[in-house]
Every structure is written in C-alpha cells, then in structure tokens.
C-alpha cells in the first residue's frame, strides 16, 4: 500500500479507491481461468488472451503495483497450461509489461475508446513475439486467424476497463456533504 501514490488512483478526473493486492490476484486468477476454458472450433481462434488483457489493464492503471516479475511468472504458468515451450509466454508477457509501463502515461491520457488502438498494437506485438519464438523452433505459421485473438482482446478493452474499475469506484454521493 505504501508504494502506491496518489496519482495512480485518479482516472479521468475520478478518484478511485486504493487497490488491494487481493483484488489484483483475484482478477489475474479469473483471467487465467478464462484462458483455460475449453472451447470448440472457431471460438478458440477469436477467444482473447485474457491474461494479456488483464496485464495491460494493471500495467496502465497501477504500474507501480504490478511489475515485470508477476508478468513473467504468469507467463511461465501459461506456458505450462498451454503446453508450449517454457519461456515463450514469459518472454512475451514481460515484453508486453515493459511496453505497457513505458507507455502508461500516454495511454492514460486518451479516453477509453482511443486506448483500444494502443491495446491492439500491444497485444499484436505480444503475439508476434510468441510467433517468432515458435517459428525459430521450426513450427509452421498457423495462418492469419492467429491474430484474431488480439483484435477481440482490443475490442473487449472498454468492457474490461468498465468491469475491473467497477469495484474501485467510490459510492456516488459519498463525498457530497
């Protein structure tokens, strides 16, 4: 708690409640569960990488609370879950987190719909890192539908922001005396 400063709790002129560590852990656990949901056929192609989207959210709004290490650790977890090469997601997620923390002040300046463009670029870059790792490891290019997940992730960004912000909003009228 001592590490969070006041500036990180202001979003679009609204002062948010301080973020509890438990809440961050809960959202990340839910993101992992959503990534593991068994899906039939084409839905699995458009199903976004919720862990990456959640990392972008926390990187943008709480860059001091969630650094590179949690992103890297989550990457390792997803490597095991997806039975991919060890370090593939870890590399992609730590690069994603680096870019998000580097750009967080810029992204925060924009209204949420405009942030979608940033999120799309970040998610695509993250997927490209994974793609390069796999191509080096003699895999075949799976086709351009591979990138659909990033597009849906970016499209869902306003929803994600709204849902994750909801518990952090102060009750209306709490400050009105």
């Amino acid at each position: 708690m001592s590490r969070s400063n006041l500036g990180d709790n202001i979003q679009g002129g609204e002062v948010m409640l301080p973020v509890r560590t438990g809440y961050i852990l809960l959202t990340l656990a839910v993101a992992v569960v959503l990534d593991l949901v068994p899906l039939p056929g084409w839905i699995s192609w458009v199903w976004p990488d919720f862990v990456a989207v959640a990392l972008v959210y926390w990187g943008v709004y709480q860059p001091r609370r969630l650094g590179l290490f949690p992103a890297w650790l989550l990457g390792l977890l997803m490597d095991v879950a997806d039975a991919t090469l060890f370090g593939q997601h870890a590399l992609a997620y730590s690069a994603l987190m680096f870019a998000v923390i580097f750009l967080h002040r810029r992204i925060q300046m924009f209204p949420v719909p405009y942030q979608m463009a940033h999120v799309l670029a970040l998610l695509l870059a993250q997927q490209c890192i994974q793609l390069v790792v796999r191509l080096v490891d003699s895999a075949q290019f799976p086709g351009f539908q591979y990138f659909f997940a990033s597009v849906t992730g970016a499209v869902l960004w306003p929803v994600v922001v709204a849902v994750l912000n909801a518990p952090l909003r102060r009750r209306q009228g709490a400050d009105d005396v």
């Binding site: 569960v33 949901v37 290490f69 390792l76 090469l85 060890f86 690069a95």
Partner: protein, 300 residues
C-alpha cells in the same frame, strides 16, 4: 568522495534493466527447454498450482452438459437404448469368436515358440481441454502420475488411435495427437499388409504417408491400422483411412494423405493403454554374462 549523489527515493534498477533481465531469463529457459528439457520439475510444480484453476475452467461446460443430460427426453433415451442393444447384438458374435480366436492364437504362438503380446492395463480418462497453442495439436487429460499414467503410453478412443502421452504431471497429462507435427505412428495397410509410418501435418484432420513408392499397392479408402512394431501402440488399432493419392512419375514417392479415424472433437472420454511391461533386453548388455561360465569351467 562519492561521485554520484544518493537517490532520494529508492526505486531499484530501471525498467529497461529489469526487462533485459527477464528477457534474458526467458530466452535461457527457451533454449534449455527446446534443447535439453531440463525444467520438467518446475513444470510439475506449476501444473499443480494450475490444477484447481483448470478444474474451475472446465466447470461451466461440464455443468452445461450435465443439465443437458438431465433434461434429455424419454424418447431420446429409448432410441439410444435401442441403438446400443442393436450394437451389442452385432458385436456379440464377434466377441464370442474373439475368445476362441485368442485361445487358438495363444496355442499357435506356443507351437511356434513365440512370445504372446503382453496384456495392457487400461485407464479411462476425460479430456479437460484442447491446448490453446495453435502451433501444436495437444489435449490435456485428467489423469496423471497419481493414476499410474506414464509418458509414452498410447491413448485411444472408441474408434481409433488418438495419440501418445508426451508429458505427465501429478493430476493431468499432455497427449500429443497423431496429427501433431512431430508425431509419427507405424502403420500397416489392413488390405495389402504394406507397412509404413504416418506423419502428422500440424493441422486437424490430416495425416501423411511418406516414402511410399509410386507403384506401391495402396488405394483410396484403405484402412491403416497400427503395426505394433514400435512397442508403443498395440497392433491392429485403426489409425486412418487413405483419402487422397497423388502419383507423379516425376517423383520417387507418392503423395498420400489420410484422414485420422479418431476425433478429439467428437468424444471427451479416452482410454490410456499402459506400456508393455517388458521390452526386448539390450543384446549388448548380456555379453559379459555369457563369458562367465567359460572362466568357471577353466578353473577345475
């Protein structure tokens, strides 16, 4: 004496340095996993952490099918029951003959002084989910080392060979499907007896037979069954049907694609066949044993 002043706020190394550290660590992990597979221990720990999350993830789907099963109509149940009875009747004569054939086979093998094929233990498992990795064809099943499942064992469903267990964790294990790019299955053409190996192509619903001469006896619709010479898959399980043959005299080999018999998308219950208990001993290791009697007989 100090050249740089002490920082007012301790913030640790800069973002770029931290990123460089984690990127290097990831690359080291990638290299060691791709080349040497040193990190199975860490994988096991992570898999145990993941297990409750995996269970939670497959819960909604399971709930949906359970409620769907609950509200199934009586006529549907009646029809299914009729169909199963008919199938049981169809299979009954074959099963009755099987007992006699097995006895006969055992006797013939004894006459020829050959070893009978070992009995295999079967474990029924459920597919938890298909791996989200678009580069490989893998599924995760809900049986692991705690249920006596080992890496390398064959996995089949009710129609044919599904794949092979490539990694085991305490509660779950990974199955590489025969359509995975690195999977190969030794097969035999059930019509002509031609032996070959199928190779996965890395995408759903297609296998390839390589190194088959252009003039080989193979036709569209031929059923390929496991030949059993690898010791992993027992002989005689259906693997695939030949779907397309391109015979081009310019090349030494024909291009043959097949459709796999088993389908992951259609069933979520699979059978794990345990590995045979004994393999043929390594002939090189028995040499020193053979020398001993000679020395002993020389002494007296």
């Amino acid at each position: 004496m100090q050249a740089t002043p002490q920082p007012i706020f301790k913030r640790g190394p800069s973002l770029a340095v931290r990123f460089a550290f984690f990127a290097f660590l990831s690359l080291a992990l990638l290299a060691s996993d791709a080349r040497f597979r040193y990190l199975e221990g860490i994988r096991t720990v992570a898999s145990v952490v993941l297990y409750p999350l995996q269970q939670a993830a497959s819960l909604p789907g399971e709930l949906l099918t359970r409620t769907g099963e609950f509200f199934v109509t009586q006529s549907a149940l009646y029809r299914e029951n009729e169909r199963l009875k008919r199938e049981a009747l169809l299979h009954a004569p074959q099963l009755q003959r099987l007992a006699a054939l097995e006895a006969e086979n055992a006797q013939l093998l004894r006459l020829m002084d050959a070893k009978p094929s070992p009995e295999r233990k079967t474990t029924i498992a459920e597919i938890l989910y298909e791996s989200r990795d678009p580069f490989t064809r893998k599924v995760v099943i809900d049986r692991g080392t705690n249920h006596d499942v080992h890496a390398g064992e064959a996995v089949i469903d009710n129609v044919g060979v599904l794949g092979q267990i490539t990694r085991v964790f305490p509660f779950v294990s990974e199955v590489s499907l025969i359509t995975d790019k690195n999977q190969s299955v030794p097969v035999q053409n059930s019509r002509s007896g031609l032996r070959s190996v199928t190779f996965g192509l890395g995408h759903d619903g297609a296998l390839e037979l390589r190194f088959i001469p252009v003039n080989a006896d193979i036709q569209i619709g031929d059923v390929l069954v496991t030949s059993g010479i690898d010791g992993t898959y027992p002989a005689g399980l259906p693997v695939a049907t030949v779907a397309n043959i391109e015979r081009n005299a310019a090349f030494a080999f024909a291009r043959i694609t097949c459709t796999p018999s088993a389908g992951v998308s259609s069933f979520n219950r699979v059978i794990v066949l345990s590995a045979p208990p004994q393999m043929v001993p390594n002939p090189l290791k028995t040499e020193p044993v053979a020398e001993r009697p000679r020395k002993g007989s020389a002494k007296p």
